[in-house]
C-alpha cells in the first residue's frame, strides 16, 4: 500500500532518520567526530567553492557526465521497452564509486584530516579511495575481507599500485561487513587525524545522506540526457543494490515523479528461499548495525548473518537506511536476481552490446531481461550500468567452468 507523501526527497531529519531508519548508533569515542563530519558537510554543501571544486574533478578527472546509451540490440532482443544504460562504468576506475570518493576526500581535506581509511567488498570502492588518496597525496588504509581478497585479486593489486595499504580482515565472516567493523575499529583508535570514507549510503548520519548527495549526479545527468534523447523523462528506472549507493544516486532526483516506476534489485545468491543470499529487504528485518537502523539479515537472536552473492559488491547483510524507508513507504519496488540470472545477463550484455558489465549491474540487467519484453515499445527504461566487469572475469570464468 503506497503512502501519500508530499515529497520523498526531504529526508533525513536532523537526527539522521528516514522514518524509523538511519540514526547515529556509534560508540561515544566516535560521536564527537561524527558530529564534526556533519557540521563540515552542512557547511560544504552550501559553499559554492566546494561545488565548483567537486564539479572540476567530476569533469576533468572522473570523466563526467557519463553517457546515456540506448542499448539497441538488447532492446530488440527483449522485444519491448526501450532500454537505456546510464554508463557509470565508463568513469575513471570503472564504477560509480569514484563520485563519492572525490566528494568525501574534498571534505576530508577541508576538515584538515591527514589519513584516510575505507572498507571494500568487490574492491571498487577500495580502488576509488586509493585513487583519490594518490591524487591528493594522503596515506590510505583499505580494509578488505580475506574472502574478497582471494576473489578480487586484480583490484587488490590495483590498490597497492596506487599506494594504499590493503589490510586483510579475518574476523567474523571475512567479508564486507567484517571489513566495515575493522575500519570502524581503526577509526575509533585514530579519530584525531583520520577520515573514514564510507563507500555506500549506510553508516551513521550524515553518511547515508552525504553519499547519496554525491552519487545523485547520476540521476541529475540522466534527467537532462533523457530529455535530450527522448524529450521526456523515463518511465522506469532499474538499479542493483548492495548497500545501495548507485541506486540512490540514480533514484533520488526522480523520487517525486509519481509516474516513474523505480525498481531496486537485490542479490538473491542461490535463492531468497535458501540461506545463501544478500537480499536484506526481501529476507531480512529491521535492526541496528554499523551506525544505522535498517533492514538486516539476522537470526532470531539478533545476530548478523553472513550474506552470499557471486558479486562481492552486493555481499552485505544490510542496506542503506533510505532504501529501507523507500521500501516501507512503497515508493520503490525491491526485487531480486540470483547468481545464475546475473551470470546469464553478464554474458548476454557482453555479446549483444559489447559491454562487459560488472556482476553487480548484471543483477539489474537480469531483472530488466525479465520485464522489458512485457512492456510496450514506447516505454523508456533506464538502467544504471554502475560498473564494468573486468574485475569479475576470474569469478565468471570459474563459475562457467573455464580455465584462464
Amino acid at each position: 500500500m503506497k503512502q501519500q507523501i508530499n515529497t520523498y526527497r526531504a529526508g533525513p531529519d536532523e537526527q539522521g532518520h528516514f522514518g524509523i531508519f538511519g540514526g547515529r548508533f556509534v560508540a561515544e569515542t566516535l560521536m564527537p567526530l561524527i558530529l564534526e563530519v556533519e557540521k563540515a558537510w552542512d557547511a560544504a554543501r552550501d559553499d559554492p567553492t566546494f561545488a565548483q571544486e567537486l564539479e572540476y574533478y567530476f569533469k576533468h578527472y572522473v570523466g563526467r557526465p557519463s553517457p546515456l546509451y540506448f542499448a539497441n540490440r538488447l532492446t530488440e532482443h527483449f522485444g519491448g521497452a526501450k532500454v537505456y544504460f546510464k554508463r557509470d562504468e565508463l568513469n575513471h576506475t570503472g564504477a560509480h564509486k569514484i563520485n563519492n570518493c572525490v566528494g568525501q576526500i574534498l571534505l576530508a581535506r577541508r576538515m584538515g584530516k591527514t589519513r584516510i581509511i575505507a572498507e571494500t567488498g568487490a574492491g571498487q570502492h577500495g580502488v576509488a579511495t586509493a585513487t583519490v588518496c594518490a591524487l591528493f597525496d594522503l596515506p590510505c588504509t583499505i580494509y578488505m575481507g580475506s574472502k574478497d581478497i582471494a576473489r578480487q585479486a586484480p583490484n587488490v593489486f590495483r590498490m597497492k599500485l596506487l599506494g594504499a595499504e590493503v589490510k586483510p580482515v579475518t574476523s567474523g565472516s571475512n567479508s564486507l561487513k567484517d571489513a566495515m567493523n575493522e575500519a570502524l575499529r581503526d577509526w575509533v583508535a585514530n579519530v584525531e587525524d583520520t577520515f573514514y570514507i564510507i563507500g555506500t549510503v549506510a553508516g551513521p548520519h550524515p553518511y547515508p545522506a552525504m553519499v547519496r548527495d554525491f552519487q545523485s549526479v547520476i540521476g541529475r545527468e540522466t534527467r537532462e540526457q533523457m530529455m535530450e534523447a527522448e524529450g521526456r523523462l523515463p518511465d522506469s528506472l532499474v538499479a542493483c543494490i548492495g548497500g545501495g549507493s548507485n541506486a540512490m544516486g540514480l533514484f533520488h532526483p526522480f523520487l517525486d515523479e509519481a509516474d516513474i516506476k523505480i525498481i531496486g534489485v537485490e542479490a538473491a545468491g542461490l535463492g531468497v528461499d535458501t540461506d545463501k543470499h544478500a537480499a536484506s529487504l526481501t529476507g531480512g528485518r529491521p535492526g541496528v548495525l554499523h551506525g544505522n537502523r535498517t533492514y538486516l539479515l539476522q537470526d532470531d537472536d539478533g545476530q548478523i548473518l553472513e550474506a552470499h552473492s557471486i558479486s562481492a559488491g552486493l555481499d552485505y547483510p544490510g542496506i542503506g537506511p533510505e532504501h529501507s524507508w523507500l521500501y516501507e513507504t512503497g515508493r520503490v519496488e525491491y526485487v531480486s536476481a540470483t547468481d545464475k540470472e546475473a551470470l546469464e545477463a553478464f554474458q548476454l550484455c557482453s555479446r549483444m552490446e559489447g559491454i562487459i558489465p560488472a556482476l553487480e549491474p548484471s543483477h539489474a540487467l537480469a531483472h530488466v531481461s525479465k520485464i522489458a519484453g512485457g512492456l510496450p515499445k514506447d516505454h523508456i527504461l533506464c538502467m544504471n550500468m554502475c560498473g564494468r566487469g573486468d574485475k569479475d572475469i576470474f569469478t565468471v570464468a570459474e563459475a562457467l567452468g573455464v580455465k584462464i
Partner: protein, 280 residues
C-alpha cells in the same frame, strides 16, 4: 516517573569507600566458552575478589572490541549462547548472591531484536542492575536509555578522551550507577593509558559528576589495577581475563578441567591489587 533502581551500585560503592579502597570490575562474556564453564566462573567471581561483575552479551559484530573480546563472543555464540540465556545466568547467580552488582554489556541489535520492553522487564526481574550498550550514544537515548531508567535499571554511559568538557554534560545527563571512563581512544584490550593521563581524566570527570567512576581499557596487571583504583572508584579488567579463558581451552576449543580455577586465580591476583589501592 522512574522505578527505583536496585540500589546495589550505591551500596557497593559506599562499602568500598568505607573500606578505603577502589573496586575491581571484572568483564567476561556470558557463555564463553560454554554456558556451564562460564557460570562456574561467574559464580566464583565475588569470592575471588570482583566487586562488580560485568557480563558481556555476545554479538556477532562487536565493532568496539579488540580480538580477545571478539573471539569470546564468537566462542559463546558457537556454543549456542542466546540473550535469554544471559538473563538465565544472572537469575541463577542472584539466587546465591544478592549483593554483587551485575552490569550487562553489549550492542543494541540483540536487545532490539528481543524487544526493548520485554528485555528490560526480564533483566530487572533476573537481577540485572545496569546496562552498558556501546552503540547507543546520548543522541539515541530514547531507544533504550530512557526506557531502562523507567524500568529501574541503571544506564552506565561511556565517557572517552574525545568527550570534551562541552559534551560531557550531555553524556552524563542520563547516566546512573557509575560512569565508565574509556581511558584510551581505541578498542578493548589494546592500548593502555598512562597513570598521569588516567588521573587527569578522572579529575576532569569529577568536576562534572558525583557518580562513582570506573576506568577501563588496557588494564592488564595487578599493578595497573592498583594504580587505576587508587585514583578512580574502580578498575575494569576484561580482555586480560578473557585471555586466561582462551588459554584454558584445549586444542579443540573445549575447556580444560581447571579452566575456572585458573581464571579465578588470576582474578584473585588482580583483586590483591585493589586491596592495596588506598582508593577514593
Amino acid at each position: 516517573m522512574s522505578a527505583a533502581d536496585s540500589g546495589r551500585f550505591s551500596r557497593r560503592f559506599a562499602a568500598l569507600k568505607a573500606a578505603g579502597r577502589g573496586g575491581l570490575i571484572t568483564f567476561i562474556t556470558a557463555g564463553d566458552p560454554d554456558y556451564e564453564s562460564s557460570k562456574q566462573i561467574v559464580f566464583g567471581l565475588p569470592e575471588a575478589g570482583a566487586d562488580v561483575i560485568e557480563l558481556g552479551m555476545p554479538f556477532s559484530d562487536p565493532m568496539a572490541d579488540g580480538p580477545s573480546v571478539q573471539a569470546a563472543s564468537l566462542r559463546a555464540l558457537a556454543a549456542g549462547m542466546k540473550l535469554a540465556r544471559v538473563l538465565e545466568m544472572v537469575r541463577e547467580f542472584r539466587a546465591r548472591d544478592d549483593d554483587t552488582p551485575i552490569v550487562l554489556m553489549g550492542y543494541y541489535n540483540p536487545i532490539y531484536s528481543y524487544g526493548v520492553d520485554r528485555f528490560l522487564a526480564e533483566a530487572r526481574e533476573s537481577g540485572v542492575d545496569g546496562l552498558i550498550v556501546v552503540d547507543l550514544p546520548p543522541e539515541e537515548d530514547q531507544e533504550l536509555c530512557l526506557p531502562a531508567l523507567k524500568a529501574g535499571l541503571n544506564f552506565i554511559r561511556l565517557a572517552t578522551p574525545t568527550t570534551d568538557d562541552q559534551r560531557l554534560p550531555t553524556v552524563l545527563s542520563n547516566t546512573s550507577g557509575f560512569v565508565y571512563y574509556v581511558s584510551v581512544m581505541g578498542i578493548t584490550g589494546t592500548k593502555s593509558a598512562t597513570e598521569g593521563a588516567v588521573k587527569a581524566a578522572v579529575e576532569r570527570l569529577r568536576r562534572h559528576t558525583d557518580l562513582p567512576i570506573g576506568v577501563g581499557f588496557g588494564i592488564k596487571t595487578p599493578e595497573n589495577v592498583r594504580a587505576v583504583a587508587s585514583v578512580a572508584n574502580a578498575a575494569v579488567v576484561g580482555s586480560a581475563i578473557i585471555d586466561r579463558i582462551a588459554g584454558g581451552l584445549d586444542g579443540n576449543g573445549r575447556p580444560k578441567p581447571d579452566l575456572a580455577a585458573g581464571v579465578l586465580g588470576y582474578v584473585r591476583e588482580l583483586a590483591a591489587g585493589v586491596r592495596g589501592s588506598g582508593g577514593k
